[in-house]
Symmetry: C2
Subunit: 433 residues, 2 copies
C-alpha cells in the first residue's frame, strides 16, 4: 500500500452540513433531533429524500429485498465496490448525526470525485442499511446483517416489532421491499464514518478515531409474571411483585457493571432501557413486567461472565419473590476486530491531513461490524459533544464533521489502490450462521 | 340501642349473585373481571345498568354534581337517611366484587324491606360514588370526598386524569354531571359492605370482619429527569439514568416496608405500582422516568416516618446520579377510626346471625372513610380468596356474599333504631378542609 495517501481533494463542507440539517427536518422532534423509527412513514420520507440525492448526483440506485439502498458510481473495472455508508433510521429520541453523517459524507465523497473527474479502480458504493438501531425491530443492524448473509431473508422479513408490525409488511407498505438479492455482493472494502457517541475523543481533544473494533452486544428481554394485587391489603411478605423484581434486576445491573469495570481492564456497560409494568397503576402490585437488558463488552469471555451473573441473579430473585421469568434473546453479537490494514490506513490518512488521531474500540454497534464478516473493514469516528447520543442534544462541531468526511474520502481512495489478499474476501455464503 | 338486633328477614342470595355476574359483563376483561375506569364508556354502561335496577325496585334516583348516584326509599320520617353503598368503577384489572358487592347488596336490602313491607324510621339510601379507585383520576375516593365537602366541587371537576381527560368534561360526556348539590345531605349513619381484598379472614376461617378503621394513605408521583444517552458508549460513572433511580427507589420501598413491619407492631406497606420510562428503548439510557409510590399505615406517625425516609432516599440517590426529581402528591389521607357503636353493632349482628366475626382494620381505602368525617360510620368485610383483589381472579364464596348482605341488612335496621347523639352528626361545612 502506498504510504502517501492524500492529495488536495476535499469534500464540500457547507453542502454536507446543509444536507444533515435538511435530513434532520424529516420526523422532527423537540430539541432539533429526529424520530425515524425503521420502516415508519418518517423513515420512508428520509429514504425518499436521500435516494433522490443519490440519483441527482448520478449514482445508480438499487434497493435490495431487506430494504437496503445502495447507490453506485462505476469504477475502471466492473468488480467489487469500495463501499461506505451507514443508516438513516433513528431511535425515538434520535440526534441529527448518528448514521446520517456516514451516509451523507458518502455522497460528498462521490460528488468530490465527480467534480474533479477522479476515476477510481473499483466502483464506489454508498449504502444506507435498514433498521440499524433495532429500536422498532430487533436485532439492531438488521439490514447489514442480512446483507452479509448472517440472517436469512425470510427469517428477517418475519420479524415482529415492538408495536406488533412485521418487517416484510412494513417494507412493502413504504415501498422499499426491493428486488436486489440478499446476501448482496461482497465489497472490496468497507469504511463507515460515524460520530463517536461517547466522551473519549472530546475529553482527549482528538479529532479522529481510527476504530479498532466493536464491543460485543447481548440484548435480552425479560418477561416477569407475578400476581397483580391490592397495594393496600397485601402484606409485603405475601407479594409476587413483578415490578419489584424488574427494579431489583435494574439495580443489580448497575452493581454488576461497576464491579466488572473496577476490577478488570475491560469496560463493562449494562443498561435496563425498557421497563413496562402491567397494569401500571398506583394502587396495584404489578402482576407483569417486561424489561430489556443491554450488556456490552469488548471481551467475549467477560461478556459471557456478565450474562451468567445476570442469569444467576434473575433466578435467585424470581424464586425468592415467587414469580416466573421468561427470557428472549433480542440480539447477540460477539466483539468484532476490524482489519489492521484498514485501521492503519484511517490513522495514516488522518495524520497526513493534519488531524490528531487515536485508535479506539467502538462502544456502540455499527453496520461496519456486519460488513467486517465478509471484507476488510474499518471505521472513522469524530467527537460527540459531552458524549451525548440517542438524544436531540447530540452534537458534533462542523469542523469535525468535515474532517471526518475528508478522512473518509482519502481512506476510500487509498483502499481503492490496495491489493488485498483474496483470502480476506470470504464469500458471504460461507459465513452464514 | 337494642341488644337484640335481628329477626327472620334475609336477602335473596340468588338475585344478588345474578346481579354481580351481570354487572361483571360490563367492560369485560380476560379472566372474568371488568375494566370500568371512572367516567369511561364502560363506567357509563355500568352506571346505566345499576341505575335502571334502582328505578325498577322503586328507589327515587338522584345524580349529584360530581356524578354520585343515590337511590332513596322513604322512611317514616323525612329526615337524614340511613345510607349504604360503595362504588362500581374499577381498576384496569378489576375483579367482580370490589365495590360492586356493596352497591348490589344495598339493592338487596331495599328489596327485602319492600317485599316484607318493613317501614324504617329513616329513609334508606343506596349510593355508588364516583371514581373510588382513583385509577384514572387522582385522588381515589373522589366522589365520596366531594360528597362530604372534603374537596370543593370546582377543584374536583378540574382534575386531570392520567390520560389527560378532565373530570368535569368526562362527567358531562357520559351524562352523569347531575344537579343534586355537593356537599350532599349528612346521613344518619353509613355502613359499607366490601370484600376484604386481603388474606386475614380466609386465613383465620372467619366469615365477617367488623372494620374498626382504615389505614392512612400517601400517594406520591415522582418525575425523575436525567439524560437519555447511548447505552453502549456511555460509561457507567457518567450516566444520569432516570430509570436506574426509579428502580433504586422501588427496591428501597421494599426494604423500608419490611424493616418498618418487622421492628414495630403496625404494618407498613409500600408499593411502586406505576413506572414508565422514556424513551423506553433497549439501547437508550432512560432520560425520564415517572413512577408512583403508595405508602399505607394505620398509624399516622409511622406513615410520616415512611414518607420522611422515602424523601431522604430520593434526595440522596438523585444527588448521587445527577438527576432531578419533582414530587407531586396524588392523595394523602390520615388513618380513619370508625364509630365504636357502629363497629359493635356490626359485630353483634354477625354473631346473632350465627357467623364468626373479628374486628380488624382495613388495608384499602373505602368511601366509608369519607362518610366517617360527617356521620357514624362502619364497614362489613367478607373474605377474599387468597387475599386477591384488583385482579380478575378476585373471588368470594357465594355463602360469604350472602352472609355479608344479611349482616348489612340487620346492621342498617339496628342503626335505624339507634338514637345517635346529635353531636356526632357534624355538619359537612364544619369539616371542610
Amino acid at each position: 500500500m502506498n504510504t502517501r495517501f492524500t492529495n488536495d481533494l476535499r469534500i464540500d463542507g457547507d453542502r454536507l452540513i446543509r444536507r444533515i440539517e435538511e435530513l434532520a427536518t424529516v420526523g422532527p422532534i423537540e430539541g432539533g433531533g429526529s424520530c425515524r423509527l425503521a420502516l415508519t412513514d418518517e423513515d420512508r420520507a428520509g429514504r425518499d429524500l436521500v435516494g433522490a440525492w443519490m440519483s441527482e448526483i448520478g449514482l445508480s440506485v438499487s434497493v435490495d429485498a431487506i430494504g437496503n439502498v445502495i447507490g453506485t458510481r462505476p469504477g475502471r473495472i466492473n468488480g467489487p465496490p469500495i463501499m461506505t455508508g451507514s443508516h438513516i433510521d433513528t431511535v425515538r429520541t434520535g440526534g441529527r448525526y448518528d448514521g446520517n453523517l456516514g451516509v451523507l459524507a458518502g455522497l460528498e465523497v462521490v460528488e468530490t470525485l465527480e467534480r474533479h473527474g477522479v476515476q477510481t479502480e473499483h466502483p464506489v458504493a454508498v449504502a444506507f442499511f435498514t433498521d440499524e438501531e433495532g429500536a422498532r425491530f430487533p436485532p439492531d443492524m438488521l439490514g447489514s446483517l442480512v446483507y452479509v448473509g448472517g440472517l436469512g431473508l425470510e427469517a428477517a422479513l418475519d420479524i415482529v416489532g415492538i408495536d406488533g408490525a412485521i418487517v416484510g409488511e412494513e417494507l412493502a407498505r413504504i415501498g422499499y421491499r426491493g428486488i436486489a438479492p440478499c446476501p448482496g455482493p461482497v465489497p472490496h472494502a468497507f469504511v463507515e464514518l460515524h460520530v463517536e457517541q461517547g466522551p473519549v475523543l472530546e475529553a482527549e481533544g482528538i479529532t479522529i478515531g481510527a476504530v479498532t473494533g466493536v464491543q460485543g452486544i447481548s440484548w435480552t428481554e425479560l418477561t416477569i409474571t407475578g400476581q397483580s394485587n391490592h397495594a393496600g391489603t397485601t402484606p409485603m411478605n405475601l407479594r409476587h411483585d413483578a415490578g419489584y423484581v424488574a427494579a431489583a434486576i435494574a439495580v443489580h445491573l448497575r452493581h454488576l457493571a461497576l464491579e466488572m469495570s473496577d476490577g478488570r481492564s475491560d469496560r463493562q456497560v449494562a443498561t435496563a432501557g425498557r421497563l413496562d409494568l402491567h397494569p401500571d397503576l398506583v394502587n396495584v402490585v404489578a402482576g407483569l413486567a417486561t424489561m430489556t437488558v443491554d450488556l456490552r463488552n469488548t471481551d467475549e469471555k467477560l461478556l459471557r461472565d456478565a450474562e451468567a451473573e445476570l442469569a444467576r441473579f434473575v433466578a435467585e430473585t424470581a424464586t425468592a419473590e415467587g414469580v416466573t421469568v421468561a427470557e428472549r434473546t433480542l440480539a447477540r453479537f460477539e466483539p468484532v476486530v476490524f482489519d489492521d490494514r484498514v485501521v492503519e490506513t484511517v490513522a495514516g490518512v488522518a495524520t497526513e491531513l493534519g488531524h490528531s488521531v487515536r485508535q479506539m474500540p467502538s462502544g456502540a454497534g455499527h453496520d461496519a461490524q456486519m460488513l467486517a464478516r465478509v471484507c476488510p473493514t474499518g471505521m472513522v469516528f469524530v467527537p460527540s459533544r459531552d458524549g451525548i447520543s440517542h438524544n436531540p442534544a447530540e452534537y458534533t462541531a462542523p469542523a469535525d464533521l468535515v474532517a471526518g468526511a475528508d478522512v473518509l474520502l482519502h481512506t476510500l481512495l487509498a483502499l481503492d489502490a490496495a491489493d488485498f489478499d483474496n483470502e480476506t474476501k470470504r464469500i458471504v455464503e460461507g459465513r452464514n450462521q
